[in-house]
């Protein structure tokens, strides 16, 4: 991917697929889950967008990009585990796939930067918005959620990531960071477009998708 070339021109050319191409290909190859079409689902609640953290060098920019991908991958994996435990296998599989896509991207950043290990401290970055700009909000989950909802979450995150890079490109004084951020913004914008298409192919949940004959909550 050109972003990485900008940051580190000596990056190995051996990578067969750039992170961008890999992610895009992975998203394009995903088939729409088969489920009966129904009424539109409720929109995911808005969440405050993470602002750009201060990034002063191209290397630091790539470390942030890496952290974003890792945190997003970990969160999707956590969602997949939760859905598996609650026997919502279709959504679990979708979250697992999203996690793999994010993790692959993170791994390729490591490889192309020549980093032998994570450039990020164990506790991660302190994002201005509390969590990384591509990290899904756990309070959006529901044990009866459907693939459409999962894709809405993914779409929201890709939009946040796109806005994060756009903001970073706008405020940075470092030309390398700006160029990288603009390219990443375009990449995320492409992902937004792909997920929007994916959503169009995915059946919308029934209005009563949350209905449960044996609900866990007695307090409703």
């Amino acid at each position: 991917m050109s972003t990485k070339k900008t940051v580190k021109k000596t990056a190995k050319k051996s990578a067969k697929l750039s992170p961008k191409k890999t992610r895009t290909a992975a998203l394009k190859s995903t088939k729409a889950p088969q489920r009966a079409a129904a009424k539109p689902a409720a929109k995911a609640p808005k969440r405050a967008a993470a602002k750009a953290a201060p990034v002063t060098s191209a290397s630091e920019f790539m470390a942030h990009a890496y952290a974003m991908e890792v945190e997003a991958a970990e969160r999707y994996a956590e969602f997949a585990d939760a859905m598996e435990v609650h026997n919502n296998r279709e959504v679990a599989e979708l979250f697992r796939k999203l996690s793999r896509i994010e993790q692959r991207h993170a791994d390729q950043i490591l490889e192309q930067m020549g980093w032998k290990q994570s450039p990020v401290a164990s506790a991660g970055y302190r994002w201005e918005g509390m969590e990384g700009p591509e990290t899904a909000d756990p309070t959006e989950l529901h044990y009866l959620m459907q693939p459409y909802h999962a894709l809405q979450i993914a779409l929201h995150n890709e939009k946040r990531a796109r806005d994060f890079f756009a903001h970073l490109a706008k405020i940075t004084g470092n030309p390398g960071v700006r160029k990288g951020a603009l390219e990443m913004r375009e990449e995320e914008a492409e992902h937004v477009h792909l997920i929007e298409g994916w959503l169009k192919r995915t059946p919308k949940p029934d209005a009563n998708w949350q209905a449960d004959q044996d609900p866990p909550a007695l307090s409703d």
Binding site: M83, P138, T139
Partner: protein
């Protein structure tokens, strides 16, 4: 368990077990678990030198999900078990996980005396203002006007203020975190572990199953506008105007941790036995 002989730095993943949490989707405790493992990695602790002790409740399932030594104890008694462990094995890092029911109600008395005794423990309480595991009864931190089928018209009882109690009872480190800020909470837990004596970290951890309105917490919490203090009186004054949504370290004291009079280089159990010889 991960070997301490490994040269590569341990990552948070090294502290996670293979068991998948069975919390409800969206539970804040997932993120607190992540904060635990990140804090251990941040401090580069070795899993075999860490013990996670808990009582009963959703949050108390955490020991099973870590790759450290763990003890899933009885309801409200996690601090008693942890204090015993720490005094017997002062070389271990002992972290105690609890919830607002287990920690402030059933184990409320242990909480007071753990603060007072000041054994070198880290106590992390995941507070969701409800008994989640038993399907949504009001807990000590539930607001007096919170209505549910199980508490029509609310309890009418003033809620417990854990930070005030911890400070008044003598905790040496008092902080509040938020599950929606896992990296920040990891740093808080790491600071709490490093601080000598009894460290108390209250973590607001939403239960969206029984308290769906807690989704709003992410829009309500904020970093405390003032730095931590070592002045307990000043910390107490700050708590007078605290709305429960300020996160960060409130108080870092300098009280010497409790040390057992028995152990290596000190009295031995046989010495104690002699005192009781008739």
């Amino acid at each position: 368990m991960t070997s301490s002989a490994s040269a590569a730095p341990l990552t948070a993943q090294a502290f996670k077990s293979d068991y998948k949490p069975i919390w409800c989707p969206g539970c804040g405790d997932y993120s607190v678990l992540s904060s635990f493992t990140k804090a251990f990695a941040l401090l580069q602790l070795q899993p075999e030198n860490v013990a996670v002790v808990s009582g009963i409740g959703c949050s108390s399932r955490i020991p099973a999900y870590t790759n450290c030594y763990g003890f899933h104890g009885v309801h409200g008694r996690s601090l008693a078990a942890a204090a015993g462990l720490k005094l017997a094995r002062p070389d271990l890092t002992v972290v105690v996980a609890s919830g607002d029911g287990d920690g402030y109600s059933i184990g409320g008395n242990h909480f007071l005396h753990a603060c007072r005794r000041n054994v070198d423990l880290t106590y992390v309480v995941m507070d969701n203002h409800v008994y989640g595991m038993t399907k949504g009864q009001p807990s000590p931190t539930t607001e007096p006007d919170w209505e549910s089928k199980l508490s029509p018209e609310g309890t009418g009882l003033r809620e417990f203020n854990p930070l005030v109690v911890a400070l008044a009872a003598g905790a040496n480190f008092v902080a509040r975190g938020f599950a929606g800020d896992p990296n920040g909470t990891a740093e808080l837990i790491a600071q709490a572990i490093k601080a000598p004596g009894f460290s108390f970290v209250e973590v607001l951890s939403p239960c969206i199953t029984f308290r769906p309105e807690q989704r709003e917490w992410k829009n309500m919490v904020r970093p405390a506008s003032v730095p931590s203090t070592d002045d307990a009186a000043l910390a107490a004054r700050r708590l007078m105007t605290d709305d429960g949504m300020n996160i960060g370290v409130l108080y870092k004291g300098g009280r010497k941790p409790y040390q057992s009079p028995v152990g290596k280089g000190k009295k031995q159990p046989s010495d104690l036995e002699q005192e009781f010889t008739l």
